[in-house]
Subunit: 101 residues, 2 copies
Amino acid sequence: MYGLIGKMTAVAGQRSALIALLLDAVERMPGCYSYIVAEDTADADAIWITEVWDSKDSHARSLTLPEVKAAIAKARPLIAGFADGVTTTPVGGHGLVKVTG
Amino acid sequence: MYGLIGKMTAVAGQRSALIALLLDAVERMPGCYSYIVAEDTADADAIWITEVWDSKDSHARSLTLPEVKAAIAKARPLIAGFADGVTTTPVGGHGLVKVTG
């Protein structure tokens, strides 16, 4: 499996709008096992995204899906930056539910 | 919801043994929505644990379950340290599957 953990910072006041866009296509990304969006409790503009995919390729392919591309285009003006990105190899746990499509 | 993201470092050479212990009780923790264990791709001793719970209380209660306490006791000698811990408020996504019990 292929995993990503990263922090996204929204333009001030736009975190909720950005989160809504991030969640828009979340159940329709083939090869996705987990994609969880969370608010940082200490920073009112920060969002944590933790992802698990069956492969790096599935993640890359998701970024080419028309509805994901549309969401990214809408989200871009609401994003101030990225930080603390980590690539992982998930090995197990609870809540891994593969999306097929 | 209540979320945790953190990095655990294993004693050199003990990462796989530590991961096995972390995964041991994972499907039997009431209130858990997601608990994913991943290897860091850049550090052979590092493990990332990302968790989602219905409440902070459910997380705290899980640490008192006999089988979780037993796993922690076995894991302790294999843990070299913790870092990069973040508390979050998860708001949605794919792969949130509540354990009841």
